[in-house]
Amino acid sequence: MANVLVFAESRGTELRKVALEAVTAGRALADATGGGEVHALLAGPPGIATKASQLGQYGADLVLVCEHAGFTKYARESVAAMLADRARAGYRAVLIPFSANGRDLGPRLAARLDAPIVSDIISFSAAGDALTVKHPGYANKVIIELEVKGSPAVLSVRPSAFTPKEASRTARIETLAPAVDPGAERVVVKEIIEGAKGKLDLGEAPVIISGGRGLRGPENFKLVEDLAAAFGNAAVGATRAVTDEGWRPHSDQIGQTGRQVSPQLYIAVGISGAIQHLAGMRTSKTIVAINKDPEAPIFKVADYGVVGDVFEIVPALTSAVREAKKGH
């Protein structure tokens, strides 16, 4: 029986969805190794403590809460120190979301604990002392099964790979003080430049509408944005060709060198389906492709394809989705 420590990522006073996914993965790992406890560390500005019970709902037995104004922004060194201190108490594994900040935190923690680390896992299997995990390497083109020796193992969990699952329990709460003053960070966050208000992140949106060069110009992304708005729960992505042209910001790029996403529904508009792009979206649950070229490789991975003029099809789809949503 071994306990699992989870970093419950937050932003401001909000829990991130990846925190619930990591707690869900932690619960499964603790159960697989003989029913240990899941301890979740929640660090944020004053007010974050109100989110602790939610972590219990998803399977945390104990929530370690640290409220400090210095955690309003990501305090990498202080969070790493606090997590490492706690991890030294003896855990089988420390789970972290493979998010932008989790990618920063995982290696810090592994170095501080001198612990083995595997990034971006999609599944694991544990039996006794043996732990193996699966991680997509070569930009999702090869699934690599890795054996991890030693405790604790630092594992970062791919967003959307584990679906948050209620395991309702009432978590005990323990209050922590920062191990290191978050005001003494050497890397100081000077500014957060917010994206558009209410904009869903590509990693978290259940629906993604992506545009490619077939849209012919940045102004035509309005079509894609309108379709996203009709869904209401959709984010807008783009291909590398499009971000290289500067039609969309680089952060919108989906593909091998950009974001790798697995939404419930991915609609590719005017995208031919270069390998570079497919590597970023082929694990989506349902894929729709709209393209004028019936030979485009995107149709090979699409569940549903529509061949024809995107300027005619997308507005028609937008109206139909709007109608369908009204019916709900």
Partner: protein, 250 residues
């Protein structure tokens, strides 16, 4: 500035991969290997910083078997002054083991700035750079899309989900480089000739213990074949019906 750039040799990311006989590695036959894409951006950033800021030195460093020397020569043909090859028989998958070898080399190097790609294509893990920062006890900034250095301090921008984060930090520091920051230059003929004469030092890598090992590699399952719903806007009602009733995503 004295800048170290830690680079890796990886297969061309546009390749189609096959799994080798033992099932624990990719089949390297017919694959083209080169400097990893993100490492290429890091080399370019280092060269531009030193070009802009006057006298400096860019040193390319790599852990790898002998074939990584070709990648180090490429960095020198782009403009790095010298290179260090930390030799291993085979690259471990364990990023912390590699970070320990690099930290052992870097700690006495007197570098102002140490750059890495944000991750390497093959392992797609992004461990080595930030772990090296921790092992060296210097500030580390992960996956930056913009970097300025002035008066012994760095300012960097990194993308976090849905927002950009601007950070400031003192040097020496480790920074890992994202795509889009700079286009790597092509080595000129003159650069390639000059690189042949630049110093490349080889020494054994002091790897840490390897605790993460590959048990199996496999290709992801193919997606089941899809279908063309129809042509033009006339296909939209059927598409919507399928999304509602079959895929149940609308």
């Amino acid at each position: 500035m004295k800048i170290a750039v830690c680079i890796k040799r990886t297969p061309d990311s546009e390749s189609r991969f096959k799994i080798a006989g033992g099932g624990t590695a990719i089949d390297e036959a017919g694959l083209k290997f080169d400097m990893d894409d993100f490492a290429g951006y890091a080399v370019e950033v280092a060269l531009q910083l030193n070009e802009k800021q006057g006298p400096g030195e860019t040193v390319a460093i790599a852990v790898g078997p002998d074939n990584v020397q070709e990648t180090l020569r490429k960095a020198m043909s782009m403009g790095a002054e010298r290179a260090v090859h930390l030799k291993v028989d085979a690259m471990p998958f364990d990023g912390l083991a590699t970070a320990k070898a690099l930290a052992a080399e870097l700690k006495t190097g007197g570098f102002d700035l140490i750059l890495f790609g944000k991750y390497a294509f093959d392992t797609s893990a992004g461990v080595v750079g930030t772990a090296t920062a921790e092992l060296l006890g210097v500030p580390g900034v992960t996956a930056v899309s913009k970097l300025d250095i002035a008066n012994g301090r760095g300012t960097a921008r990194r993308e976090i989900e849905g927002a950009g984060e601007v950070v400031e930090f003192p040097l020496p520091a480790v920074v890992t480089i994202d795509e889009g920051i700079a286009r790597p230059r092509y080595p000129s003929l003159k650069g390639i000739m000059a690189a042949k004469k630049k110093p490349l030092e080889t020494k054994p890598a002091q790897l840490g213990p390897v605790r993460v090992t590959v048990k199996k590699m496999e290709l992801p399952p193919d997606r089941p074949p899809g279908r063309i719903v129809g042509q033009g806007a006339a296909a939209v009602p059927e598409l919507v019906r399928l999304l509602q009733n079959e895929a149940k995503v609308l």
